[in-house]
Protein backbone atom coordinates (compact mmCIF):
# COMPACT_ATOMS: atom_id res chain seq x y z
CA UNK A 1 0.00 0.00 0.00
CA UNK A 2 1.08 3.51 -0.71
CA UNK A 3 0.84 4.57 2.92
CA UNK A 4 3.67 2.25 3.83
CA UNK A 5 5.95 4.13 1.48
CA UNK A 6 4.80 7.51 2.59
CA UNK A 7 4.51 6.93 6.30
CA UNK A 8 7.48 8.96 7.40
CA UNK A 9 7.22 11.61 4.73
CA UNK A 10 4.17 13.42 6.06
CA UNK A 11 4.92 16.91 7.19
CA UNK A 12 2.58 16.48 10.13
CA UNK A 13 -0.84 15.25 11.19
CA UNK A 14 -2.65 17.88 9.11
CA UNK A 15 -0.71 16.77 6.06
CA UNK A 16 -1.71 13.14 6.70
CA UNK A 17 -5.33 14.02 7.27
CA UNK A 18 -5.38 16.13 4.14
CA UNK A 19 -3.83 13.32 2.15
CA UNK A 20 -6.55 10.89 3.32
CA UNK A 21 -9.35 13.25 2.36
CA UNK A 22 -7.82 13.82 -1.07
CA UNK A 23 -7.25 10.11 -1.60
CA UNK A 24 -10.90 9.39 -0.82
CA UNK A 25 -11.96 12.30 -3.04
CA UNK A 26 -13.93 13.93 -0.29
CA UNK A 27 -14.72 17.56 0.45
CA UNK A 28 -13.55 18.98 3.71
CA UNK A 29 -16.42 18.79 6.20
CA UNK A 30 -17.43 17.02 9.39
CA UNK A 31 -18.81 13.95 7.59
CA UNK A 32 -15.58 13.46 5.67
CA UNK A 33 -13.62 13.61 8.90
CA UNK A 34 -15.80 10.86 10.36
CA UNK A 35 -15.09 8.79 7.28
CA UNK A 36 -11.31 9.15 7.33
CA UNK A 37 -10.89 9.00 11.11
CA UNK A 38 -10.57 5.22 11.05
CA UNK A 39 -7.92 5.34 8.30
CA UNK A 40 -6.02 7.93 10.24
CA UNK A 41 -5.90 5.68 13.29
CA UNK A 42 -4.73 2.81 11.14
CA UNK A 43 -1.84 4.89 9.89
CA UNK A 44 -0.83 5.67 13.43
CA UNK A 45 -0.92 1.97 14.26
CA UNK A 46 1.21 1.15 11.23
CA UNK A 47 3.71 3.78 12.29
CA UNK A 48 3.86 2.19 15.72
CA UNK A 49 4.41 -1.25 14.17
CA UNK A 50 7.25 0.11 12.07
CA UNK A 51 8.78 1.63 15.20
CA UNK A 52 8.63 5.09 13.69
CA UNK A 53 9.07 7.91 16.06
CA UNK A 54 5.56 9.26 16.22
CA UNK A 55 5.43 12.91 17.03
CA UNK A 56 2.97 13.82 19.79
CA UNK A 57 1.06 16.01 17.36
CA UNK A 58 -0.19 12.92 15.52
CA UNK A 59 -1.64 11.56 18.73
CA UNK A 60 -3.24 14.89 19.62
CA UNK A 61 -5.03 14.96 16.28
CA UNK A 62 -6.11 11.35 16.67
CA UNK A 63 -7.71 12.31 19.95
CA UNK A 64 -9.48 15.20 18.32
CA UNK A 65 -10.86 12.94 15.62
CA UNK A 66 -12.12 10.46 18.17
CA UNK A 67 -13.76 13.23 20.15
CA UNK A 68 -15.48 14.44 17.00
CA UNK A 69 -16.81 10.97 16.26
CA UNK A 70 -17.97 10.42 19.82
CA UNK A 71 -19.84 13.71 19.78
CA UNK A 72 -21.66 12.71 16.59
CA UNK A 73 -22.78 9.48 18.20
CA UNK A 74 -24.29 11.23 21.21
CA UNK A 75 -28.08 11.21 20.95
CA UNK A 76 -29.65 14.60 20.27
CA UNK A 77 -26.43 16.08 19.03
CA UNK A 78 -27.94 17.26 15.77
CA UNK A 79 -31.25 18.42 17.23
CA UNK A 80 -29.88 20.58 20.01
CA UNK A 81 -29.64 23.78 17.98
CA UNK A 82 -31.65 25.33 15.22
CA UNK A 83 -30.07 25.76 11.79
CA UNK A 84 -26.95 24.01 10.59
CA UNK A 85 -24.53 23.01 13.34
CA UNK A 86 -21.37 25.12 13.59
CA UNK A 87 -18.33 23.70 11.82
CA UNK A 88 -15.97 22.05 14.27
CA UNK A 89 -12.69 23.86 14.77
CA UNK A 90 -10.80 21.03 13.12
CA UNK A 91 -12.74 21.47 9.88
CA UNK A 92 -11.91 25.19 9.82
CA UNK A 93 -8.26 24.47 10.41
CA UNK A 94 -8.20 21.83 7.72
CA UNK A 95 -9.86 24.18 5.24
CA UNK A 96 -7.24 26.79 5.94
CA UNK A 97 -4.47 24.25 5.70
CA UNK A 98 -5.85 23.28 2.28
CA UNK A 99 -5.46 26.87 1.19
CA UNK A 100 -1.86 26.89 2.40
CA UNK A 101 -1.17 23.81 0.32
CA UNK A 102 -2.72 25.30 -2.80
CA UNK A 103 -0.69 28.47 -2.32
CA UNK A 104 2.48 26.51 -1.80
CA UNK A 105 1.90 24.85 -5.18
CA UNK A 106 1.66 28.27 -6.82
CA UNK A 107 4.77 29.46 -5.03
CA UNK A 108 6.55 26.35 -6.27
CA UNK A 109 5.69 27.27 -9.84
CA UNK A 110 7.03 30.78 -9.33
CA UNK A 111 10.15 29.39 -7.73
CA UNK A 112 10.61 27.02 -10.67
CA UNK A 113 10.56 29.94 -13.11
CA UNK A 114 12.84 32.01 -10.93
CA UNK A 115 15.64 29.51 -10.61
CA UNK A 116 15.96 29.55 -14.39
CA UNK A 117 16.56 33.29 -14.46
CA UNK A 118 19.88 34.93 -13.72
CA UNK A 119 21.05 38.40 -12.77
CA UNK A 120 24.41 40.06 -13.12
CA UNK A 121 26.83 40.21 -10.25
CA UNK A 122 28.34 43.44 -8.88
CA UNK A 123 31.80 42.86 -10.38
CA UNK A 124 31.42 44.68 -13.63
CA UNK A 125 29.63 47.58 -11.94
CA UNK A 126 32.68 48.17 -9.77
CA UNK A 127 34.92 47.88 -12.80
CA UNK A 128 32.83 50.37 -14.77
CA UNK A 129 32.96 52.83 -11.88
CA UNK A 130 36.72 52.53 -11.68
CA UNK A 131 37.08 53.06 -15.41
CA UNK A 132 34.86 56.11 -15.39
CA UNK A 133 36.81 57.38 -12.42
CA UNK A 134 40.02 57.18 -14.37
CA UNK A 135 38.65 58.53 -17.58
CA UNK A 136 36.37 61.42 -16.95
CA UNK A 137 33.73 63.66 -15.43
CA UNK A 138 33.40 65.02 -11.92
CA UNK A 139 31.68 63.01 -9.23
CA UNK A 140 28.85 64.72 -7.40
CA UNK A 141 31.13 65.81 -4.60
CA UNK A 142 34.79 65.34 -5.38
CA UNK A 143 35.70 66.69 -1.95
CA UNK A 144 33.75 64.05 -0.09
CA UNK A 145 35.05 63.78 3.47
CA UNK A 146 37.25 66.87 3.29
CA UNK A 147 36.57 69.47 5.95
CA UNK A 148 37.26 73.17 5.79
CA UNK A 149 40.00 72.93 8.36
CA UNK A 150 41.82 70.49 6.10
CA UNK A 151 41.69 73.01 3.30
CA UNK A 152 43.09 75.61 5.64
CA UNK A 153 45.87 73.28 6.71
CA UNK A 154 46.68 72.49 3.10
CA UNK A 155 46.98 76.21 2.42
CA UNK A 156 49.25 76.75 5.39
CA UNK A 157 51.38 73.80 4.32
CA UNK A 158 51.79 75.19 0.87
CA UNK A 159 52.64 78.62 2.31
CA UNK A 160 55.38 77.06 4.37
CA UNK A 161 56.76 75.29 1.35
CA UNK A 162 56.57 78.56 -0.54
CA UNK A 163 58.73 80.40 1.96
CA UNK A 164 61.38 77.71 1.81
CA UNK A 165 61.41 77.58 -1.96
CA UNK A 166 61.48 81.41 -2.24
CA UNK A 167 64.54 81.60 -0.05
CA UNK A 168 66.24 78.98 -2.18
CA UNK A 169 65.33 80.76 -5.42
CA UNK A 170 66.69 84.08 -4.23
CA UNK A 171 70.00 82.44 -3.46
CA UNK A 172 70.11 80.78 -6.89
CA UNK A 173 69.31 84.03 -8.66
CA UNK A 174 72.17 85.84 -7.01
CA UNK A 175 74.56 83.10 -7.96
CA UNK A 176 73.62 82.34 -11.52
CA UNK A 177 71.36 84.83 -13.19
CA UNK A 178 73.50 87.88 -12.75
CA UNK A 179 73.45 89.27 -16.25
CA UNK A 180 71.23 92.29 -15.74
CA UNK A 181 70.70 94.81 -18.54
CA UNK A 182 73.09 93.39 -21.07
CA UNK A 183 70.57 91.39 -23.09
CA UNK A 184 69.43 92.72 -26.42
CA UNK A 185 65.87 93.66 -27.32
CA UNK A 186 63.77 91.79 -29.89
CA UNK A 187 64.40 94.57 -32.43
CA UNK A 188 68.14 94.32 -31.95
CA UNK A 189 68.02 90.59 -32.32
CA UNK A 190 65.96 90.87 -35.53
CA UNK A 191 68.63 93.09 -37.02
CA UNK A 192 71.33 90.67 -35.93
CA UNK A 193 69.56 87.73 -37.60
CA UNK A 194 69.12 89.67 -40.85
CA UNK A 195 72.84 90.45 -40.84
CA UNK A 196 73.74 86.79 -40.42
CA UNK A 197 71.30 85.92 -43.21
CA UNK A 198 72.99 88.34 -45.57
CA UNK A 199 76.45 87.07 -44.65
CA UNK A 200 75.63 83.37 -44.95
CA UNK A 201 74.98 82.89 -48.65
CA UNK A 202 72.52 80.02 -48.18
CA UNK A 203 70.91 78.58 -45.02
CA UNK A 204 72.02 78.75 -41.45
CA UNK A 205 70.78 76.52 -38.69
CA UNK A 206 68.39 77.46 -35.88
CA UNK A 207 70.63 75.50 -33.52
CA UNK A 208 73.55 77.77 -34.30
CA UNK A 209 71.43 80.84 -33.60
CA UNK A 210 70.32 79.50 -30.23
CA UNK A 211 73.74 78.17 -29.27
CA UNK A 212 75.20 81.58 -29.79
CA UNK A 213 72.93 83.04 -27.12
CA UNK A 214 74.47 83.69 -23.71
CA UNK A 215 71.48 82.66 -21.56
CA UNK A 216 67.82 81.60 -21.49
CA UNK A 217 66.51 85.09 -21.76
CA UNK A 218 68.54 85.82 -24.87
CA UNK A 219 67.35 82.53 -26.37
CA UNK A 220 63.77 83.61 -25.84
CA UNK A 221 64.45 87.01 -27.38
CA UNK A 222 66.08 85.32 -30.36
CA UNK A 223 63.12 83.02 -30.80
CA UNK A 224 60.62 85.88 -30.63
CA UNK A 225 62.71 87.82 -33.15
CA UNK A 226 62.68 84.85 -35.46
CA UNK A 227 58.90 84.57 -35.25
CA UNK A 228 58.52 88.24 -35.95
CA UNK A 229 60.76 87.95 -39.04
CA UNK A 230 58.80 84.98 -40.35
CA UNK A 231 55.60 86.91 -39.84
CA UNK A 232 56.96 89.78 -41.91
CA UNK A 233 58.24 87.34 -44.58
CA UNK A 234 61.77 88.63 -44.07
CA UNK A 235 63.04 85.06 -43.59
CA UNK A 236 61.89 81.53 -44.40
CA UNK A 237 62.16 78.44 -42.23
CA UNK A 238 62.24 74.83 -43.26
CA UNK A 239 63.22 71.51 -41.79
CA UNK A 240 65.98 69.46 -43.40
CA UNK A 241 65.91 65.70 -43.77
CA UNK A 242 68.02 65.23 -40.66
CA UNK A 243 65.59 67.39 -38.67
CA UNK A 244 67.74 70.50 -38.58
CA UNK A 245 65.76 73.69 -38.68
CA UNK A 246 67.21 75.89 -41.41
CA UNK A 247 66.78 79.65 -41.76
CA UNK A 248 67.35 81.71 -44.91
CA UNK A 249 66.49 85.10 -46.23
CA UNK A 250 63.01 85.60 -47.63
CA UNK A 251 62.51 86.31 -51.36
CA UNK A 252 61.51 89.89 -51.05
Amino acid sequence: MSYQVRLDSFEGPMDLLFHLIEENQLDINEISLHKVAQQYLEYIEKMQEMDLDIASEFIVLAAELLQLKARALLPGHRKRKKGPPPEPDLVKRLLYYGKVRRTVKKLRTLEGQRIKMFQRGPDSLIHVLETIEEEQSPPQDPLKGIELKELLKAYENSRLKAQISRRKKTEEKQEVYDFGEEISTVDEKMEEIMQVCSKESGNFSFKKLIDNCKNHQEKIVAFLALLELVKNSKIKIRQSKNHNILIRKGEV
Partner: protein, 176 residues
Protein backbone atom coordinates in the same frame (compact mmCIF):
# COMPACT_ATOMS: atom_id res chain seq x y z
CA UNK B 1 14.54 70.42 -19.91
CA UNK B 2 17.28 69.87 -22.44
CA UNK B 3 18.88 66.45 -22.14
CA UNK B 4 22.56 65.81 -22.78
CA UNK B 5 22.01 62.20 -23.70
CA UNK B 6 19.48 59.68 -24.93
CA UNK B 7 17.31 58.85 -21.90
CA UNK B 8 16.25 55.45 -23.09
CA UNK B 9 19.80 54.38 -23.80
CA UNK B 10 20.91 55.78 -20.44
CA UNK B 11 18.16 53.86 -18.64
CA UNK B 12 19.26 50.69 -20.37
CA UNK B 13 22.86 51.31 -19.27
CA UNK B 14 21.80 51.91 -15.65
CA UNK B 15 19.60 48.83 -15.47
CA UNK B 16 22.25 46.71 -17.14
CA UNK B 17 24.71 47.43 -14.33
CA UNK B 18 22.29 46.91 -11.43
CA UNK B 19 23.46 44.06 -9.19
CA UNK B 20 20.24 44.33 -7.19
CA UNK B 21 16.83 45.92 -7.78
CA UNK B 22 17.07 49.71 -8.28
CA UNK B 23 14.28 51.95 -7.03
CA UNK B 24 12.45 54.10 -9.57
CA UNK B 25 13.13 57.16 -7.44
CA UNK B 26 16.88 56.53 -7.71
CA UNK B 27 16.65 56.23 -11.48
CA UNK B 28 14.69 59.48 -11.73
CA UNK B 29 17.36 61.27 -9.73
CA UNK B 30 20.29 59.82 -11.65
CA UNK B 31 18.72 60.66 -15.01
CA UNK B 32 17.29 63.96 -13.81
CA UNK B 33 13.88 63.17 -15.24
CA UNK B 34 10.32 63.28 -13.97
CA UNK B 35 8.43 60.26 -12.74
CA UNK B 36 6.19 60.48 -15.81
CA UNK B 37 9.15 60.50 -18.16
CA UNK B 38 10.70 57.52 -16.39
CA UNK B 39 7.46 55.55 -16.54
CA UNK B 40 7.11 56.26 -20.22
CA UNK B 41 10.71 55.32 -21.06
CA UNK B 42 10.60 52.27 -18.84
CA UNK B 43 7.40 51.07 -20.45
CA UNK B 44 8.87 51.36 -23.89
CA UNK B 45 12.14 49.68 -22.89
CA UNK B 46 10.38 46.88 -20.99
CA UNK B 47 8.15 46.17 -23.94
CA UNK B 48 11.18 45.88 -26.21
CA UNK B 49 12.92 43.53 -23.83
CA UNK B 50 10.06 41.43 -22.58
CA UNK B 51 7.99 40.94 -25.71
CA UNK B 52 10.60 40.50 -28.42
CA UNK B 53 11.48 36.79 -28.80
CA UNK B 54 14.83 37.87 -30.22
CA UNK B 55 15.75 39.37 -26.86
CA UNK B 56 17.15 37.14 -24.15
CA UNK B 57 16.58 39.56 -21.29
CA UNK B 58 13.64 40.92 -19.40
CA UNK B 59 13.07 43.87 -17.12
CA UNK B 60 11.19 43.07 -13.95
CA UNK B 61 9.83 44.87 -10.95
CA UNK B 62 11.12 42.90 -8.00
CA UNK B 63 11.17 43.74 -4.30
CA UNK B 64 10.18 47.31 -5.05
CA UNK B 65 12.90 47.90 -7.62
CA UNK B 66 13.80 47.23 -11.23
CA UNK B 67 16.22 44.59 -12.37
CA UNK B 68 17.21 42.90 -15.61
CA UNK B 69 17.26 39.10 -15.70
CA UNK B 70 17.82 36.55 -18.39
CA UNK B 71 14.64 34.93 -19.69
CA UNK B 72 13.97 31.45 -18.37
CA UNK B 73 14.28 29.83 -21.82
CA UNK B 74 18.04 30.25 -21.75
CA UNK B 75 18.82 28.53 -18.46
CA UNK B 76 20.37 25.59 -20.27
CA UNK B 77 23.17 27.35 -22.23
CA UNK B 78 23.77 29.60 -19.22
CA UNK B 79 24.33 26.65 -16.93
CA UNK B 80 26.60 25.12 -19.53
CA UNK B 81 28.78 28.21 -19.83
CA UNK B 82 28.84 29.57 -16.32
CA UNK B 83 27.80 26.70 -14.07
CA UNK B 84 26.08 29.17 -11.79
CA UNK B 85 25.40 28.16 -8.24
CA UNK B 86 21.97 26.63 -8.47
CA UNK B 87 19.54 28.26 -6.16
CA UNK B 88 18.08 25.63 -3.90
CA UNK B 89 14.43 25.01 -3.81
CA UNK B 90 12.83 25.45 -0.44
CA UNK B 91 11.70 22.25 1.29
CA UNK B 92 8.00 21.52 1.63
CA UNK B 93 7.92 22.08 5.39
CA UNK B 94 9.78 25.38 5.07
CA UNK B 95 7.68 26.52 2.16
CA UNK B 96 4.43 25.87 4.03
CA UNK B 97 5.77 27.85 6.96
CA UNK B 98 6.99 30.58 4.63
CA UNK B 99 3.63 30.81 2.88
CA UNK B 100 1.85 31.20 6.21
CA UNK B 101 4.28 33.93 7.30
CA UNK B 102 4.01 35.70 3.95
CA UNK B 103 0.23 35.95 4.04
CA UNK B 104 -0.27 36.44 7.74
CA UNK B 105 2.67 38.58 8.74
CA UNK B 106 3.43 39.67 11.37
CA UNK B 107 2.82 36.30 12.94
CA UNK B 108 4.04 34.36 15.99
CA UNK B 109 5.48 30.89 16.05
CA UNK B 110 2.55 29.61 18.12
CA UNK B 111 0.10 30.68 15.42
CA UNK B 112 2.13 29.00 12.68
CA UNK B 113 2.24 25.80 14.69
CA UNK B 114 -1.48 25.91 15.23
CA UNK B 115 -2.09 26.18 11.49
CA UNK B 116 0.38 23.53 10.39
CA UNK B 117 -0.26 21.24 13.35
CA UNK B 118 3.47 20.68 13.88
CA UNK B 119 6.40 22.34 15.58
CA UNK B 120 7.80 25.16 13.50
CA UNK B 121 11.11 25.68 15.26
CA UNK B 122 13.29 23.97 12.69
CA UNK B 123 11.58 25.50 9.69
CA UNK B 124 11.82 28.99 11.24
CA UNK B 125 15.51 28.48 11.93
CA UNK B 126 16.16 27.41 8.33
CA UNK B 127 14.17 30.28 6.87
CA UNK B 128 15.94 32.79 9.09
CA UNK B 129 19.32 31.41 8.09
CA UNK B 130 18.42 31.70 4.41
CA UNK B 131 17.41 35.31 4.97
CA UNK B 132 13.86 34.71 3.76
CA UNK B 133 12.21 35.79 7.00
CA UNK B 134 13.10 38.14 9.83
CA UNK B 135 11.93 39.24 13.26
CA UNK B 136 9.70 42.23 12.78
CA UNK B 137 8.74 42.86 16.39
CA UNK B 138 7.36 41.40 19.56
CA UNK B 139 3.78 40.76 20.60
CA UNK B 140 2.82 42.59 23.76
CA UNK B 141 1.59 39.67 25.78
CA UNK B 142 2.98 37.10 28.20
CA UNK B 143 6.38 35.96 27.01
CA UNK B 144 6.45 38.76 24.40
CA UNK B 145 6.65 36.27 21.53
CA UNK B 146 8.61 37.15 18.40
CA UNK B 147 6.68 38.29 15.36
CA UNK B 148 7.97 37.09 12.00
CA UNK B 149 7.75 38.68 8.58
CA UNK B 150 9.26 38.11 5.14
CA UNK B 151 12.32 39.90 3.70
CA UNK B 152 13.20 41.45 0.33
CA UNK B 153 15.13 38.28 -0.43
CA UNK B 154 11.85 36.39 -0.12
CA UNK B 155 10.36 38.65 -2.80
CA UNK B 156 13.44 38.14 -4.97
CA UNK B 157 13.30 34.37 -4.57
CA UNK B 158 9.83 34.30 -6.06
CA UNK B 159 10.24 37.30 -8.36
CA UNK B 160 7.55 39.36 -6.66
CA UNK B 161 7.47 43.16 -6.73
CA UNK B 162 5.80 43.28 -3.32
CA UNK B 163 3.67 41.28 -0.91
CA UNK B 164 0.46 42.21 -2.70
CA UNK B 165 1.71 40.28 -5.73
CA UNK B 166 1.53 36.96 -3.87
CA UNK B 167 -0.66 34.49 -5.73
CA UNK B 168 -4.22 34.20 -4.55
CA UNK B 169 -4.13 37.00 -2.00
CA UNK B 170 -7.73 36.55 -0.80
CA UNK B 171 -7.08 32.93 0.09
CA UNK B 172 -4.71 32.99 2.99
CA UNK B 173 -5.02 36.49 4.36
CA UNK B 174 -7.93 35.71 6.61
CA UNK B 175 -8.23 32.48 8.46
CA UNK B 176 -11.84 31.47 7.93
Amino acid sequence: MEQKYNIKAALEALLFLAPEPVKEKELEEALEISSTKLQETLKSLSREYNEDPNRGLKIENIAGGLIVSTKEDYAEPIKKLYQPKVQHRITQASLETLAIIAYRQPITRAKIEEIRGVKAEKALFTLMKKGLIQEVGRLEQTGTPILYGTTDLFLEHFGLSDISQLPDPEGLMEED
